[in-house]
Symmetry: C2
Subunit: 261 residues, 2 copies
């Protein structure tokens, strides 16, 4: 590990679907110092277009069932429209962004999810070993900001739909051998809240010990639980810190920092 810090930012559909929010976030991102990678999710555009084309989007447990027609549409939206709009806006902000699907430069290769109870279709699973960390290092060294969309490939010519959270954590872990890695999840709240109804009740820092306490007290529950479990899994695999906060607070200190100790 060297002393260089790289921060992996992840933005989800809520920001993608709000042009003003997205622009504001990208401007803030452009003002932050240091090496960066941006991972973006999908948003509602793909489902809207599917309905306009007479197709029926199907989600199970929040995961999109991806038949061939759906894969075409999500590839067009995520790797085409969203990825290129984000890249063009970052260029406007003076940031030399470069958009990538997992197929590009073989940067993320995954496997089609095996059919157990549910056939998700062309959905890909990946792990940190699926990430071409060497190429990301070359791009970062060349002064570029890689922008990753949630479409990967299997190396056999098949594109696969996947999940931006999973990509962000896999990339973070894969780069942890070469950099001090921070993983910054942007979402619609100011951080992990002591009281879900109070946006001012952000817990500034959580380590492994206080996390166990917060779980036991029931302060962390429901939707935050899987998010934080994944965050601590990334920390255990070498990521230095995980940051959870609102996209509009990127660059300031209103967020929750998770670390092992």
């Amino acid at each position: 590990m060297n002393n260089s810090v790289v921060t992996i930012y992840k933005i989800g559909g809520g920001i993608i679907d709000d042009a003003a929010e997205l622009s504001q976030f990208l401007e803030l991102l452009a003002q932050t110092a240091g090496l960066k990678i941006l991972v973006h999710g999908g948003g509602k555009g793909a489902s809207t277009m599917m309905r306009e084309l007479g197709l029926t989007p199907q989600l199970i447990n929040g995961r999109r069932v991806t038949d061939a027609a759906t894969l075409d549409i999500v590839t067009m939206f995520y790797a085409g429209k969203t990825n290129k709009q984000v890249v063009a806006e970052l260029q406007r902000c003076g940031v030399n962004a470069l958009g990538l699907s997992g197929a590009d430069g073989n940067v993320i290769r995954g496997v089609k999810r095996p059919v157990k109870d549910i056939d998700y279709g062309y959905v890909g699973d990946l792990e940190p070993a699926s990430v071409n960390a060497g190429l990301l290092q070359q791009l970062l060294s060349a002064g570029l900001l890689p922008v990753l969309c949630p479409i990967i490939h299997d190396g056999q010519g098949q594109l696969l739909n996947t999940n931006a959270d999973t990509i962000a954590s896999a990339v973070a872990v894969a780069l942890a051998g070469a950099y001090t890695v921070k993983l910054h999840y942007c979402f619609e709240k100011n951080g992990v809240l002591r009281d879900v109804a109070d946006e001012q009740s952000v817990i500034p820092q959580i380590d492994a010990a206080s996390y166990a306490d917060l779980k036991q007290q029931g302060i962390i529950a429901d939707g935050m639980l899987p998010k934080l479990e994944n965050a601590f899994a990334a920390l255990q695999q070498g990521v230095s810190e995980v940051i959870i906060g609102h996209a509009r607070n990127v660059g300031n200190s209103l967020h929750t920092v998770l670390c092992l100790k």
Copy 2:
């Protein structure tokens, strides 16, 4: 100029729209030696989807009039679906391809075409100076095969629709200072034909002198004329040779080679 040769291949809509033809071409491309860049056009998919969405594609002199809704669709098709399918197929063939729009890495920056008689909308004009040759050199040096789609940007956050032939020749000219550049146009004929009805009548080589003769004799006329004018313009700007032939003959010698002398 150094001794390294780079070949810029351009494929058009005819190949993009024929999955078997496209696969065959990409396999042949994978077997050719040397540094390569691939530029692809659009195909009919974008117009088909526009009609399915109740939009009316509008073309003037073969150029697409590109309003905001059309730009979204062509960006999705060219930079999303087509570009990523081509990249994934090249990866299957063992080629480390990396897809780019002009916005990615600021690789091609253009200007929105000024409105004279016709308002083409979000259509971009570019020239060799618009090309970030340094980034293409870095990618080639890293063992990557850049795959360019005909979407560029203006540096102010606006994506622009453009033409793959123009991109191919601008990239070829831009790289002519750093490499020996060959520009290979793949189209639906075996080359420049002495008799348009006879695919076996390919003229193997045309130089500036014989080109003047062929024009005078009326053997080169109609659709071939602007193609060859553009080819000779590229040669005059430092490209070493321009090759015109069928996609399925990439790697063999059935084609027309254009050179200055």
